[in-house]
Symmetry: C2
Subunit: 375 residues, 2 copies
């Protein structure tokens, strides 16, 4: 079973990817905490009612019947990614007797992973947690890298901590119950991994699109493993986004603006990133950093993994582009007034530019919106 190591100055942990991981959960957790004995009473599952309904019997299969972990529920959806949710879960943990030796199990998608990781970061000034991502997006992206947190009314992810899991157990089987749109959304982040750093993954996704899109487990395992390796390498080299880690934001400058403009309701994250990636490819093309041929291959692969839902935020593409570019002004990635923008420089290679102008972004975003109208 593929195991990929993430090593940062703060922590080191393994990401294990495969089938049937969930059914062998308890012995895996025991191995993780060895030589200390593992008391299931110290384990707290944080999950959603929907996921638990689908997967609780597989989840609990490996536990002794009289020693089950405690389950705490978090309603699904981004609007619950708030401090009030964290406080309520912390209060439940305290009343259930969780202490500094307790371990949280984040069993869900991105919201559950972010909230649980943050809860673990701040409960009694930090306890351990294990990631058990159930969506493709969480498996290839958000379960890795230690970024945890919640939203403010003033903006997404403005509250958070760097807190790494003790381990990530990525069970491919869980993707079986994933809605197709969420599968495709996650695949867009995998394409991004190919574009920024892994031409082999990119080619595999070109050649095996049918198998991947029909959720063939062998094909998905290959995609997840390669994507995890890209993210693990980048995060290991640059934990706190001082440099290299920024390449993971390819497509995210305009992607975040699209999410904000549509109030995080119309598009899934991967869908917004897909449009944002096309805009970023246009910037790269207009600068002459990629060939027309590579541009076409990359843009086509993104569209191949569609349909990506269109959105309308203004009467004309020009007006919509202006609105999106204006929204990038508050991008968190900006430091001391300079915006870091990730350019593609080929299939599998990128460059960070600090001098992409609003005019360039405007032209590229308009071009992306024209593509959308044609699609």
């Amino acid at each position: 079973m593929p195991t990929i190591r993430v090593t940062t100055p703060q922590a080191a942990y393994d990401v294990t990817i495969g089938s049937g991981l969930l059914r062998t959960l308890f012995p895996r957790l025991r191995k993780l905490t060895a030589p200390k004995p593992l008391d299931p009473q110290n384990l707290f599952v944080i999950t959603s009612p929907e996921i638990w309904a689908l997967w609780h019997s597989a989840f609990l299969a490996s536990f002794p019947a009289d020693q089950l972990p405690t389950t705490l529920f978090l309603p699904a959806g981004e609007r619950h990614k708030r401090l009030a949710t964290v406080e309520s879960l912390a209060q439940q943990l305290a009343l259930a007797g969780a202490d500094r030796d307790s371990i949280l199990l984040a069993f869900g998608g991105g919201v559950i992973g972010d909230v649980t990781g943050f809860l673990a970061a701040i409960y009694m000034r930090g306890i351990g947690y294990v990631g058990l991502p159930t969506t493709l997006l969480a498996q290839v992206d958000s379960s890795l890298g230690g970024k945890t947190g919640v939203n403010l009314l003033a903006g997404k992810n403005l509250i958070g901590s760097f807190h790494h899991p003790l381990a990530v157990l990525t069970d491919i089987d869980l993707l079986r119950t994933l809605p197709p749109a969420e599968l495709r959304s996650g695949l867009q982040e995998a394409i991004k991994s190919g574009i920024i750093r892994d031409p082999k993954l990119f080619r595999f996704m070109e050649q095996s699109a049918d198998a991947i899109l029909s959720a063939d487990p062998t094909a998905l395992q290959k995609v997840v493993t390669a994507s995890v390796r890209v993210k693990a390498d980048v995060v290991s080299a640059d934990e706190k986004e001082s440099g290299l880690r920024m390449v993971l934001n390819f497509g995210h400058t305009i992607g975040h603006a699209i999410e904000a403009a549509t109030h995080y309701r119309k598009l899934l994250h991967g869908e917004a990133v897909a449009w944002g990636s096309i805009a970023a490819l246009h910037v790269s093309l207009n600068r002459g950093r990629i060939s027309h041929e590579d541009f076409a291959r990359m843009a086509n692969l993104i569209l191949r993994y569609g349909p990506i839902p269109p959105f309308k935020i203004a009467p004309t593409p020009q007006a919509a582009a202006a609105k999106l570019v204006a929204l990038t002004a508050s991008d968190k990635k900006k430091r001391s007034g300079r915006r870091a923008f990730v350019l593609a420089t080929g299939i599998g290679s990128t460059e960070i530019s600090y001098d992409v102008t609003d005019a360039e972004l405007l032209a590229a975003t308009t071009a992306m919106l024209n593509t959308m109208q044609r699609a």
Copy 2:
């Protein structure tokens, strides 16, 4: 001006102690962030209306008149040490444009320090903050060591982070406006520092009690400096309380129980610790770890810095002691069922014991309560 360095695996910073620090704040902050230029627009003061009313002109004296920092208010009092307060402040920071380069200035007592440090720990996954403690308790204790956080309904300080300040500027002048009871409460933590690690400080507090209790600045500066050195040494040796740092909890096992039993309303923290220290001295005496003479000197010094308000939580000392010992069961310092208890083994030396029984605690706490009735 005395400067004491705190060095931990996570961070290193200076604590500067003296008079007139506040009036030279801006150049001091500029030196701290050099060679990067310091834009006062990136500075956010977190304080209470009361403190600001007393000290704003001294605080702002060193800033250019057209470049003042932004001030955010936090009402005074432990009941505001909650996540809702942190969220409201974070929202205000975001709306005021605070970014990853912003620096918070924690201008207040323990609650303001704990909340501001925690806010800095989690705003945009961590920004810098500077401690400007205004109470003696904050100056000698809570402003140092990087423990930040807030309370849950289920218990105090159950939510938090280790997040060290960029610097602590401890201005003795601020103690001039401190209510006498708060001064005495802080002095109890200074006595604790003497008891656990600094016989010279202990002797100074015996010999100069009149000057110290009348808030003589020279005497107070000596007490604060020695106390800070004790805490800085301990924290530098053991950031996260795996061993040595526990000695700082001398008197806190029963002290915390007293605070809980009186709902954090009747006694100031230092007052509860004073009674808790007397109980801890009784445990040490009953075990034969300290002489009758040293016991008397330590207990007398604690009482000399009173009056320590009495409290009544049960009809008899026996019943009250039982109640307090029962409350120690949930002590956060307990790990895997064992309670760490700090024993005095002389003036300036301690030992951590893991086998103090409830019966011993009961006897010692009853003895302390009898002292209270006589006092």
